[in-house]
């Protein structure tokens, strides 16, 4: 009997090993030709230096830019690796790592945005005695105790995308590479308000309640709407970052607020769900819809004019910049405590720049 049990378990272990052999590259391959390949064009178009060097790194024996960083072991902890935008980030990070000759590992929780798992991942970095940690926290404050541990272990931290809460003053990071959600939210909301002529009823579609992203974006948008006396925030609903749910929620909202003008959505998924609902209700022209992230399908929607605005977060560049910052630091260079990754609202005007064909 026990033999059976043993065999089966071993079998699984083997499965695990086979698994772990591939995934390191697998997704990379399935990704490379897809999103990021195109994404790399984006930075080329916008800010030259970073990405134009990416191809350069391809040819052998090129001089590494930051000798001190060469061969150093780094880990980048993201919020999620099941979602295209974060896969872009991974590519950006890996590209930079290759360019600067670093040994980078990109990881994320199984359940996206799970703080506890991120803590475990951070502790893993300590266990593996990495040279540097690039941290994109799912929960600004929840991660603090873990980061304190990292500080204690004298592993430098580069903060990426979402701020690590330093109010307690007990944690510190070398720099904060940010295309931060508050800014995204503000950009998007401002654009929406402009399109709506600074007046009308607005609603916000949130992600799962309690999520950090949701909170940052939603608060940013609310702040913007408050600024304009004629903008009335009539409702906030949770659509679980899910297109189908947003579809239903929007239908319901339209029933409650027939002359809705603005839908601010905390990600493109929900925005597109809202768009479908508006199509059904035939109110596409009445309502302006804004999302966040700049997914290809959202960009396509903007091109078609069904959706008005999104904010292209350029996760590729964020990650790339973060790794470069890490390299700089390991090379003993001084870092400013904040590195801004340029963000811009994507509108029909500039959508072609981001849209891949």
């Amino acid at each position: 009997m026990k033999r059976i049990a043993l065999l089966l378990l071993v079998a699984v272990m083997i499965a695990a090993l086979v698994g772990c052999a591939q995934p390191a590259e697998q997704p990379a391959q399935s990704e490379a030709p897809a999103a990021p390949a195109a994404e790399t064009k984006a930075p080329e178009a916008t800010q030259a230096p970073a990405a134009t060097e990416a191809p350069a790194s391809e040819e052998p024996e090129s001089q590494y830019k930051y000798p001190g960083a060469v061969g150093k072991k780094a880990t980048m902890i993201l919020k999620d690796l099941t979602n295209p935008v974060w896969l872009e980030a991974r590519e950006g990070g890996l590209a930079a790592a290759e360019e600067f000759g670093m040994d980078l590992e990109v990881v994320a929780p199984i359940e996206s945005n799970n703080n506890e798992e991120q803590i475990a991942l951070v502790q893993q970095v300590i266990a593996q005695k990495k040279d540097i940690l690039i941290m994109c926290p799912a929960d600004s404050t929840g991660i603090v105790p873990a980061i304190e541990e990292v500080n204690a272990a004298n592993i430098p931290v580069i903060n990426l995308n979402t701020k690590i809460n330093t109010d307690s003053g007990t944690v510190h990071y070398e720099t904060f590479v940010v295309a931060d959600n508050t800014i995204c939210g503000t950009l998007c909301a401002e654009e929406l308000v402009r399109l709506a002529g600074e007046e009308g009823e607005a609603v916000i579609l949130e992600g799962p309640s309690g999520g950090q992203v949701t909170i940052d974006l939603s608060n940013a948008a609310q702040a913007v709407f408050k600024k304009y006396p004629n903008i009335k925030l009539v409702d906030i609903q949770n659509a679980k970052f899910d297109r189908a749910t947003a579809f239903n929620t929007t239908q319901n909202l339209l029933q409650a607020h027939p002359n809705l003008k603005i839908i601010f959505s905390c990600n493109d998924e929900m925005a597109l769900g809202a768009v479908e609902a508006l199509k059904e209700a035939g109110k596409l022209d009445q309502v302006v819809v804004g999302g966040i992230d700049g997914n290809q399908d959202a960009l396509k929607a903007i091109k078609e004019g069904t959706m008005e605005v999104t904010v292209y977060k350029n996760f590729w560049l964020q990650a790339y910049t973060a790794v470069e910052a890490a390299a700089k630091f390991l090379d003993g260079q001084k870092l400013d405590e904040k590195i801004l990754v340029e963000l811009e609202a994507v509108t029909p005007a500039n959508v072609d720049k981001y849209l891949k064909n």
Partner: protein, 326 residues
């Protein structure tokens, strides 16, 4: 007779233990930094939270019931505790309040199942939504920072006592007590009896109500403890903290060899199950397997282990039947 009996119980566990050992060895070889006290200690710490929730769950499953509300109770407790701390309550008060909230849901479950005789799944499924909902309403969908250092101290990785983290000690204590209660006390015997055959228990003059209520109460409390430990780790409260945790806890118990039909199994198995699952997750992380693939592997392991367990039990039944003839 006695010999044989022990054999069977061992057999059920043996496969798992071997699995754990094999897994551990493989990981130690393959994953750099896995085989270090620091990591093993963290592993134990992670498993302790799963274990404490699974401990209460074991009781309920031994009764032939399920507690779907465990995960939501964790969230609720976390929120209640942290929001009180955030508003400057003393840490003890906050903790007690947190536990109370869990106890309350537990009692509600116990009342509806034990006295109203509602179906356990339906009941706890409902209280799952209820507790989660309350948590969301209380925290207004926000993350709550305690800014309280006493509370933080519970979770801080520096708070180590005799080489082991406080979490581990707390859970170890709870586990030990529950193990004693389950194997040595009247209450424990009742749980097994009712799980084995409610009718037989009732005809023996055992009041099932009390046992149901107490068991669900305990399950609620252990879930609360889990929620508190989780929150203390992050030193903040989040209404999504326990999402899906009930499933992990149930899986742990089942993998540990306590089947849904109740009256059979026990806490030792649950302990093994908790370690296996934590070890698996920790190991997969160290091997840097993409999350998507981790899903697949975890799913496989659950199925494989359960199937093995089922086969073993089938065989055991057969052998017992055969033995009747001798």
């Amino acid at each position: 007779m006695k010999q044989k009996k022990l054999n069977f119980q061992n057999r059920e566990k043996l496969g798992l233990v071997i699995g754990i050992v094999v897994l551990f060895i493989i990981m130690s070889i393959l994953a750099e930094g896995f085989f270090s006290w620091y990591n093993i200690h963290n592993l134990l710490r992670d498993s302790s939270i799963l274990l404490v929730v699974a401990t209460g769950m074991t009781l309920v499953i031994l009764l032939g019931k399920i507690d779907m509300s465990a995960g939501s109770v964790m969230s609720l407790t976390a929120i209640v505790t942290t929001i009180l701390l955030a508003n400057g309550a003393h840490v003890v008060v906050a903790l007690l309040a947190g536990l109370a909230s869990g106890a309350l849901i537990g009692l509600l479950n116990g009342y509806l199942v034990g006295i109203q005789k509602l179906d356990h799944f339906v009941t706890t499924f409902a209280t799952m939504s209820l507790a989660k909902g309350l948590a969301l309403v209380i925290c207004d969908g926000d993350i709550i920072n305690t800014g309280n250092n006493d509370f933080k101290a519970i979770g801080a990785s520096t708070s180590v006592f005799l080489g082991l983290h406080v979490h581990i000690w707390i859970v170890a204590a709870i586990f030990a007590v529950m193990l004693f209660v389950l194997t040595k006390t009247k209450f424990g015997y009742r749980v097994y009896s009712i799980g084995g055959s409610e009718q037989a228990a009732m005809l023996a003059g055992i009041s099932t109500r009390g046992t149901y209520i107490l068991s669900f109460l305990i399950s609620g409390l252990t879930a609360s403890v889990g929620g508190i430990l989780l929150a203390s780790k992050a030193n903040n409260g989040n209404a999504t903290i326990g999402d899906g945790f009930e499933f992990s806890a149930i899986a742990t118990v089942i993998i540990g060899g306590t089947p849904f039909d109740g009256g059979r199994g026990g806490l030792v198995g649950t302990l093994i199950g908790a370690i296996l699952i934590s070890l698996l997750k920790n190991g997969l992380r160290f091997l840097n397997i993409t999350p998507s693939l981790q899903y697949v592997i975890i799913g496989l392991v659950i199925l494989v282990v359960i199937i093995t367990d089922v086969i073993i039990n089938e065989r055991r039944k057969l052998e017992e039947l055969r033995r009747v003839e001798q």
